[in-house]
Amino acid sequence: MKIKPLQIIAHIILILGVLLMVVPIWISFASSSHDSVTILTEGMKFHIGDQLARNYNEVLNEKGGWSEEVTAAKMFINSFIMALGIATLKVVISAMSAYALVYYRFKLAVPIFWLIFITLLVPLEVRIFPSYKIVSDLGLTNSYTGLILPLVASATATFFFRQFYKTIPDELLESAKLDGANAWSFFIDFLVPLSKTMIAAMFIFMFVYGYSQYLWPLIMTTAEEYWTVVMGMKIIYTESYEGVALPRTAERFAYIILSMIPPVLVVVFLQKWFIKGLIQTEK
């Protein structure tokens, strides 16, 4: 097979792109396997050092915080629960509200849709005080419910589901009706399987969104047992090391690498559908 110059150029561009993505991660990983002192004195590393096991063990099991009780592992679990809850509920709620907007042709469907849509202009950060007030009045501070609930409505996902449902031909609904399907079974037997690539894609986006939340959990949680990964970075940053106030650079890298694992797992698990969902609307 002959290789064309155009192909070579394309490959060079692609390889550069891959390097751009992978090198920082590699540096983080390599640096996480050294001594903090080494990193501080010699800069970041490209090769694996000998402190790998020790650093990771320390990050995972060391108890931190004021109460000296919260561990990184616990924070990963918290973030995972929060992201999972947010992603699942966002997808379910958006799919169902889009279903109502598209298939129940009541007069207010369009205004309601736009009302939902303009909430894009008021993200959580903007309405954080009223949100906090409501959640705390409901007594939901320091709970998973409190972490998840204010974030489960999604205009973006509702919009995408709505656009997708609108491309489904009317005859499909009509023939399902004649086959005895009711409103619920049409949703479960038709819309859900037809939009499963879309669901996977939305789930990944929303999982990453939930996982990287910072401000909301910071305000919401006073008990350390509900701390999340992104907040945890701060702890490691501020802690002292063997009496001397040294930044724990190597451990921080280890923490970063570990914190990437849950989203990566979700992406790997769902990527087959995710890519399909991005490049085609399968019907």
Partner: protein, 350 residues
């Protein structure tokens, strides 16, 4: 009361379009009824009202002795085959057929048996595990039929199901639908704008124009005895020839010839209709035709030409006659088979 009864059914769409006007119609049990008419005449609307997919603005529809105006489509026990089949894209053929049965809470073994029987009848047993996207047009058509048959509904509704197929497959499927309907014996309504399809399939035919049933009858009745200008022009291929004329004292003077002693008391402006196949060549000619073009179909020849006054005219003769382009033919109407319509109302007057 017959099996399906439409009484003064009217449909006005929310945007004000009046698609069906006070239509009454009965269909007997086991009958194959065909709705035929030009595009936009309201055939689909009428059918969809029977299915329950459109609200009925006015009038009543009774099915099997029960008023179904307000009955949900899922409760009506009707099956419909759509023009684009509307197969369930994410289900394999088996599940496409089984879905309606599952919704009725039928047990698994019975479903399997029914699906397999229907698949056998339609010769789609080999494709049961395939998704619709992996089937040819004809196979999809069969699956759509299978989905209707398997539920054993009270009535089959077909909305132009053959229009997406190529000409040859169309004729084949047309035949199969007819055979199948006779075998299964289910009351059916079939919508088409193809008059050949309508003629060949129908036990009875409803010719619809502008939301009104212009004529209802067996295909032969309608062909032999069209009651209006529209029906006469719509049924029959090639189309009936129409000439302007005038009746006075039982004598019709048309464009270039006269017919005496006609069977009508009408006086005034008329249209004279003559089917191309009701003409023959003879000595004492009525009509002179200058041939422009001959289409040889094998069994028949279609001769197109012009009358003296340049009016287009068609004559159908047996295929064994050789007719040259440019020839002058003298034609006569066989057995007085001509139709006279009131020019202003379009109503038949002889």
């Amino acid at each position: 009361m017959s099996f399906l009864d439409l009484k003064n059914v009217t449909k006005i769409y929310p945007n004000g379009t009046k698609a069906v006007h006070e239509t009454s119609l009965s269909v007997d049990e086991g009958e194959f009824m065909v709705f035929v008419g030009p595009s936009g005449c309201g055939k689909s609307t009428l059918l969809r009202m029977v299915a329950g997919l459109e609200d009925i603005t006015e009038g009543d529809i009774n099915l099997d002795g029960k008023l179904i105006n307000e009955v949900d489509p899922s409760e009506r026990d009707v099956a419909m085959v759509f023009q684009n089949y509307a197969l369930y894209p994410h289900m394999n053929v088996y599940n496409n057929l089984a879905y309606g049965l599952k919704n009725r809470g039928i047990d698994k073994e019975t479903i399997e048996q029914k699906v397999n029987d229907a698949a056998k009848l339609l010769q789609i047993s080999d494709y049961l595990q395939r998704k619709p996207s992996m089937l040819s047009g004809g196979q999809r058509q069969r699956v759509a039929m299978g989905r209707a048959i398997v539920r054993n509904p009270k009535i089959f509704l077909f909305d132009e199901p053959l229009s997406n197929l190529d000409a040859k497959l169309r004729i084949q499927m047309r035949l199969e639908i007819k055979k199948l309907q006779q075998k299964v014996g289910v009351t059916s309504i079939f919508v088409t704008h193809d008059q050949v399809e309508a003629m060949t399939l129908a036990d009875r035919l409803a010719v619809i124009n502008n939301g009104i049933i212009e004529q209802l009858g067996t295909p032969i009745e309608i062909y032999d005895n069209p009651k209006s200008l529209f029906v006469a022009g719509f049924i029959g291929s090639p189309q009936m020839n129409f000439l302007d004329g005038n009746i006075k004292n039982k004598t019709l003077s048309a464009e270039g010839f006269e017919i005496k002693d006609i069977d009508s008391d009408f006086e005034g402006e008329v249209k004279l209709g003559i089917r191309p196949e009701h003409l023959s060549q003879s000595e004492n000619s009525l009509i002179n035709l200058k041939v422009d073009l001959v289409e040889q179909l094998g069994s028949d020849n279609l001769v197109y030409g012009q009358l003296k006054n340049k009016k287009d005219f068609c004559y159908r003769c047996p295929g064994n006659l050789t007719i040259e382009k440019g020839a002058d033919l003298s034609l006569n109407i066989e057995n007085n088979k001509y139709y006279i319509f009131d020019k202003s109302t379009g109503k038949r007057v002889n």
